[in-house]
């Protein structure tokens, strides 16, 4: 893969990178940091990617790791129960506010598989690979997430 191809593929993933980072981090500055870190790591390791067709899932995995690093750092800077979603961030102007708030109220463990499946179109098996979890775990979490979302949305 040439450097230009790398950049083109990343730019084509802009909305995916945005949504995946949004699913993990409430602050836009943190999302920007995570994406920067993700791109630097992906760039440094781009030659290790054996098959370019896996680039998207590979980059998402790196981004999720970068998001986790930032969450960890936040936990370290603010000892104690550092729940990033204790106060929901305001929905972006072009977002569906009800869906936004409902999704962010979900536990991260339930939210991320839902985002990867319903927003990004990944199959259960692919999500299991990205999150390094058994398929059964993903199915269970998605079912729980769906139930919780329906419940929250029916209350609105």
């Amino acid at each position: 893969m040439t450097n230009d191809e790398f950049s083109e593929r990343i730019l084509a993933m802009t909305q995916t990178l945005y949504r995946v980072s949004y699913a993990h981090l409430s602050q836009s500055c943190d999302r920007n940091d995570a994406v920067q870190e993700c791109l630097c790591r992906a760039w440094q390791k781009r030659h290790q990617l054996k098959d370019a067709c896996y680039m998207q899932t590979w980059v998402i995995r790196i981004l999720i790791n970068a998001c986790h690093d930032i969450q960890r750092k936040r936990g370290r800077e603010v000892p104690g129960p550092g729940d990033a979603w204790a106060t929901l961030p305001a929905a972006p102007p072009d977002a569906d506010v009800e869906l936004h708030d409902a999704l962010l109220r979900l536990e991260p463990a339930l939210r991320v598989p839902i985002v990867l499946h319903y927003m990004e179109g990944y199959a259960i098996r692919e999500i299991a690979q990205i999150l390094r979890l058994p398929e059964g775990t993903i199915k269970t979490r998605m079912a729980s997430g769906r139930r919780a979302l329906k419940h929250m949305l029916s209350e609105v």
């Binding site: 950049s7 730019l11 960890r72 370290r76 977002a95 569906d96 936004h100 319903y118 999150l131 329906k150």
Partner: protein, 370 residues
């Protein structure tokens, strides 16, 4: 669920996100054109340095400024970390270097430390014109002026307003870690004379006596286009800053036994502590022993060093921590962290497992070190 379209739950990527992505890619491309850092042995280094002498810039001149920020200022004032008093003795100044120059800024190394684990480096970017206002990293003209550092922290308003009031032209200036550095972080401030000062830290594990490295330096004007402020990527200026550092060395101790963290489904196989005046760098190698319990940690398992009272030990000068898989199957991992420097490496450490997303603490084990 099928009747709910979740795709619009988060909206679409905003302007900040787009330009952050765009500039990061441009910077990576630019850095690619600079030479990656190479480990060199002292003999080979001499050749390089002999050639480089023609272009040597001595940072002593820069340090003549009474209020110039140094390495210890960044560590103390910006990161709030403590290092050993001896750290001052291993700060390298006036090292051989070839400065980088772009149309907008001259880059040079002010101070640096290399302890065999991490390169700590303070880099000056001096504007080439008095009316250039250099903005580092991800700073944009519409950001608060207080983002420019301590000199501006009591001021209100935006950078673009300050620039307009003082007839200054905003210029993006940035530096990057070498291509083969494993990870790093950066901070920056603007000094009274307009010098943009970067503090860059990046990991580079080596036992070589000397380290020669190159880092990419970029600059570009901010321009107005279609009613938006953008970076003039088409005219991005790229240059390379090259310097050589002495490896001041470290000491190492390793754990004498393993310990199983049954609640988390892992066994800690080995702890390695490597100490310098800057930090104690810790490497924790662990293996998954119970797949089900490990999966329940949801990828959020972490370890922390604690004292006898269970209080987490303060971090060292590097600050960053990370975990990576050591095998394809994801059963062996290595966590790297760093702790505050100590005069002697400990003969015993206490390690606690925890889940960082929910801040749940798990088992604690003691390890003898020798």
């Amino acid at each position: 669920m099928r009747d709910i379209d979740l795709k619009n739950a988060f909206g679409t990527a905003d302007r900040d996100f787009h330009r952050n992505l765009y500039f990061t890619l441009a910077k990576l491309q630019a850095e690619r054109e600079s030479k990656p850092m190479k480990k060199r042995f002292a003999r080979r280094l001499c050749l390089v340095l002999t050639v480089a002498l023609m272009l040597i810039l001595i940072t002593g001149a820069a340090l003549a400024l009474s209020n110039a920020w140094g390495m210890m200022d960044f560590l103390r004032e910006r990161s709030g970390v403590e290092v050993l008093p001896e750290a001052v003795d291993i700060v390298q100044k006036g090292m051989p270097q070839t400065g980088a120059q772009t149309e907008h800024a001259n880059f040079s190394v002010r101070e640096a430390i290399y302890d065999g684990q991490v390169v700590y480096i303070v880099v000056d970017a001096k504007p080439t014109r008095p009316d250039y206002l250099l903005l580092g990293g991800d700073t944009w003209p519409e950001y608060p002026i207080s983002d420019l550092g301590p000199l501006f922290e009591d001021r209100d308003g935006l950078i673009e307003t300050y620039a307009a009031e003082n007839n200054l032209i905003c210029v993006k200036a940035d530096i990057g870690s070498p291509d083969d550095a494993t990870e790093g972080s950066m901070d920056y401030i603007v000094e009274a004379d307009g010098t943009l000062v970067f503090m860059l830290k990046f990991k580079y594990d080596s036992a070589d006596a000397e380290l020669a490295f190159s880092i990419g330096c970029v600059s570009a004007l901010f321009i107005e286009s279609e009613g938006q402020t953008k970076i003039d990527i088409d005219n991005l200026q790229i240059s390379t800053l090259t310097a050589a550092l002495r490896n001041t060395g470290t000491e190492t101790v390793v754990s004498t036994a393993t310990a199983t963290y049954a609640d988390c489904g892992v066994r800690v196989d080995k702890i390695t502590l490597t100490g310098s005046a800057m930090a104690i760098y810790a490497r924790i190698e662990y293996t998954v022993t119970d797949v089900e319990k490990f999966a329940q940690m949801d990828g959020c398992l972490w370890f922390e060093f604690v004292d006898a009272n269970g209080e987490r030990l303060p971090m060292g000068a590097y600050g960053g921590a990370s975990v990576q898989a050591l095998d394809e199957s994801g059963t062996r991992f290595e966590l790297t962290d760093n702790l505050r420097a100590a005069a002697t490496l400990p003969s015993k450490v206490i390690l606690r497992a925890y889940r960082y997303d929910e801040q749940i603490r798990y088992e604690t084990h003691s390890f003898g070190m020798e």
